[in-house]
């Protein structure tokens, strides 16, 4: 693979950052299109891994994933450049809004546009899940793990208290180790 220039890395992540509405999860379909399909810098399988690690490490997931991809392509400096590229437009935009348009979120056009974008984000996330599914849910055990985690998360809508997803993530990692161990143990016998 041709060595990626730092400028190209910055510009690509700047584009991704400028259109990622609704947080790190909604960014996944754009990352997949841009990095896997168009540039071939990473595979969907790797993206799935980056997200899996991003869930259980400190910090904003979008930053974790940008650092990962940048670092893979151009080492330490690449990680920094990709991260700055990703946050560049959002940060500049936020500063402009903070200075001039404190009532930005109350504007009728902004609200209308956002409602439209959110409808689109629903679809993008559904498509991302469909696309990433075969890399992550590979057998019956992982399907159970997926279902239990999802039900636990959804249950927080109906419970008077909430718990951190971190607990689910850690439990998932431990369950993964145990399942793998049980499976390899079974083969030896």
């Amino acid at each position: 693979m041709k060595k990626v220039s730092l400028i190209e890395l910055f510009l690509t992540f700047m584009k991704i950052g400028a259109f990622s509405f609704g947080g790190g999860y909604a960014m996944l379909p754009i990352l997949s299109k841009e990095l896997t399909e168009k540039k071939g810098w990473t595979s969907d399988r790797e993206l799935t891994d980056y997200y899996a690690i991003g869930q259980c490490t400190p910090g904003v997931i979008a930053v974790n994933v940008s650092t990962f991809v940048g670092n893979k392509l151009r080492g330490f400096l690449g990680g920094i450049v990709a991260t700055f590229g990703m946050i560049f437009i959002p940060t500049v935009l936020l500063l402009v809004i903070a200075i001039f348009l404190t009532k930005f979120a109350d504007n009728a056009y902004v609200k209308d546009a956002l409602a439209g974008i959110q409808a689109c984000v629903c679809v993008l996330i559904v498509n991302a899940v469909i696309k990433m599914w075969k890399n992550s849910v590979v057998d019956k055990s992982t399907f159970c793990l997926f279902l239990v985690s999802l039900l636990l998360c959804v249950s927080t809508w109906f419970l008077p208290f909430s718990f951190s997803p971190v607990i689910i993530v850690i439990a998932g990692a431990l369950a993964g180790i145990l399942i793998k161990k049980a499976k390899s143990g079974g083969k030896k016998k």
Binding site: G59, V60, N64, I97, G116, V129, V166
Partner: protein, 198 residues
């Protein structure tokens, strides 16, 4: 020096908020109560703006909060901008450092069976969390639970404008696989404005 303090406080937010931007909100509430850099009503303004602009919500919140804090102390917009940048850098620093370390460790232990087992489990859980985030957006975008609980009428449960748009986008994406998701996002924003979605 307030800028060091800003960096330090937002570094802590970045370090302890595991699992995405929304996880930063309780920590920002804590800053508001402890340091009085911004009020809780300003905090809800920040959340609204952060959600209606592109970019990770946690990063947006840090930029906004940093600006507000430095501006409230110096009453100067340049100081505010500097505060926003410092807070943003503070927030992302832990994420960048941790990922660099994780990458080093992964290279070393990529054949380790415990690491492989953990990744095998994490991928499935990660997929569940992404699905959950998707369901959360759907709940607030496609459903109108308030109106439904008041009237009990099934017709009130769905927000038909957004539902129809979502179905159309879904079908178009299946047919035209080559079209970039960004095109759909921009088109959806235009449709939202033209048909008064909010």
């Amino acid at each position: 020096m307030i800028f060091f303090r800003l960096f330090y406080e937002f570094f802590k937010v970045g370090l302890f908020s595991v699992g995405g931007g929304m996880a930063t909100i309780p920590f920002l509430q804590d800053i508001s109560e402890r340091l009085h850099w911004f009020s809780t009503s300003e905090l809800s303004d920040m959340i609204a703006v952060s959600e209606s602009t592109p970019g990770p919500i946690g990063v947006n919140m840090a930029t906004f909060a940093g600006y507000k804090t430095a501006f409230s102390i110096f009453h100067n917009q340049f100081a505010g901008v500097l505060g926003g940048i410092v807070a943003t850098l503070g927030l992302i620093a832990p994420a960048v450092i941790v990922i660099m370390l994780v990458l080093k460790a992964l290279k070393k232990f990529s054949d380790n069976k415990y690491v492989n087992g953990a990744m095998y489990g994490l991928r499935a859980v990660s997929m569940a969390l992404i699905s959950y985030a998707g369901l959360g957006v759907m709940k607030i975008t496609l459903l109108n639970l308030d109106a439904f609980s008041k009237s009990g009428n099934i017709a009130d449960l769905f927000v038909f404008k957004t539902l129809i748009l979502a179905v159309i986008i879904f079908v178009l994406q299946k047919i035209f696989k080559k079209i970039h998701p960004i095109v759909f996002i921009v088109a959806a924003a235009v449709v939202g404005i033209v048909f008064n979605f909010a």
